[in-house]
Symmetry: C2
Subunit: 234 residues, 2 copies
DNA sequence: GTTCTATTGTTACATATTGAGACAATAATA
DNA sequence: TATTATTGTCTCAATATGTAACAATAGAAC
């Protein structure tokens, strides 16, 4: 049974997720490409009638990335009338070979409760949903056009991430368990979109007393080997 | 036609507003008391089928306080299953003399998109809604029990307000157009829940270059008269 | 082995910000 | 005119941050 045929979801309510990853010095997000149309959109889904809103977002994340236990934060709910464009959804569904009644629940107006997630790029196993050809990483600095208001959703997610980073440090969720100080700095630079001073960054991070220092990392490069760090467990 | 009889709202979607005011050195919010039950709740409402989500929240604010052009910010959407308690709404509606079918849309599961507002205490004209006996101010430090998860909604609103205050200054929205430095400091103290140092506060506020200094305020008290300030227009 | 290169961890010092108190100014009262 | 309460400003100490210098070191070149 496809999502189109089920009756098990709350009407008018969707969720969308801005899933951040970090690789090769770049901050990236996951986008899905719908069949034929070539349209790009954030991964999202619907809320089961017997499901917590947060659970729905976690389920969606698990389905697309295979990941559990992820940093996931709700940041805004988009509910403008202007995001109601039934012809967009109709086209996407038609490209998948379905022809829905105009009063089908999926063609109705939706508000989108939006979440952002921070994940370890290396750990994902990407799986498109039933309406999509692909799911893939796109650099945040160079995003293509997205359907509906999804570009605005990404912008707000990035703004929220920046504000959060200044208050409560969550940058580490984008890295593997152990990382070098330089890698951590690159994450911060990618999120803030600007270079940071190496010595100040190192002093501040160490001063926060949230990092644990481990063995050195010998990469084979001809210079001093950096220490590996992990975030201290609470 | 009462809200109960209309079909013009989106099902499953409500909004609730934490409306902050400041008076006599205390931070307060507006609560409504339902007929007979004595139950207290945040002012809220539903979203019209042809209405932006934000517009709905503004409309609700206008209906209860008479105020337009208000600082209003969406901060979270509550969507746990545990907030679905049809018997609560049923009881409230029954106390108003109605007897709804169990499948009436108002008895269904709702998610609540929550907003907080900052208003000038002096300017409100309070108006209860059709299910309530009263709407009134309650001190944030000494709140009674609220229905459903409304206490959690208030807690999250206060947390968001505190975080915002550190980043972008919005404390002035709780004061009249012109105010003394001491009044502004009291607002900040009420929001943060702690005393601040007078001289440091004054220096920081003046240094931010967002205040305009006006004439002095002669209160009749036997001491130096403070200047009045207003927030600089952008 | 010795020298060289790139990068790292740490220190030193200047500059900026904040904490804490002192002090002069002043509006009304006694 | 002296007194009281509060305000606006200044001073100095304590912290935090910006900036550069420097020693340590892993591997490559010789």
């Amino acid at each position: 049974m496809t999502v189109l045929e089920t009756q098990g979801f709350l009407p008018h309510i969707a969720f969308d997720s801005v899933i951040f990853g970090f690789s090769k010095g770049k901050l990236k997000i996951l986008l899905m490409e719908y069949h034929d149309t070539g349209w790009l959109a954030l991964p999202g889904g619907f809320v089961g009638k017997n499901e917590d809103l947060d659970e729905a977002a976690k389920r969606g994340l698990k389905e697309r990335t295979g990941l559990d236990n992820i940093y996931l934060e709700q940041f805004y709910t988009f509910g403008n009338l202007s995001r109601f464009k039934p012809e967009v959804m109709q086209t996407i569904i038609a490209a998948n070979g379905f022809n829905l009644n105009p009063d089908h629940w999926m063609l109705d107006r939706f508000i989108s409760v939006s979440y952002f997630a921070l994940i370890d790029f290396e750990k994902v196993i990407l799986t498109p949903d039933e309406l999509s050809d692909s799911i893939a990483w796109y650099e945040i600095e160079n995003l293509p056009d997205l359907i509906l208001d999804h570009s605005a959703i990404v912008a707000k997610a990035l703004q929220t991430l920046r504000e959060n980073l200044e208050r409560k440090l969550i940058g580490g969720n984008l890295l593997p368990e152990r990382f070098t100080m330089n890698e951590l700095q690159q994450v911060y630079e990618a999120i803030f979109g600007q270079k940071l001073r190496r010595t100040t960054f190192q002093r501040k991070m160490l001063g926060l007393d949230i990092l644990e220092r481990h063995e050195k990392l010998y990469t084979g490069k001809s210079h001093k080997a950096p220490y590996l760090y992990s975030f201290r467990k609470v």
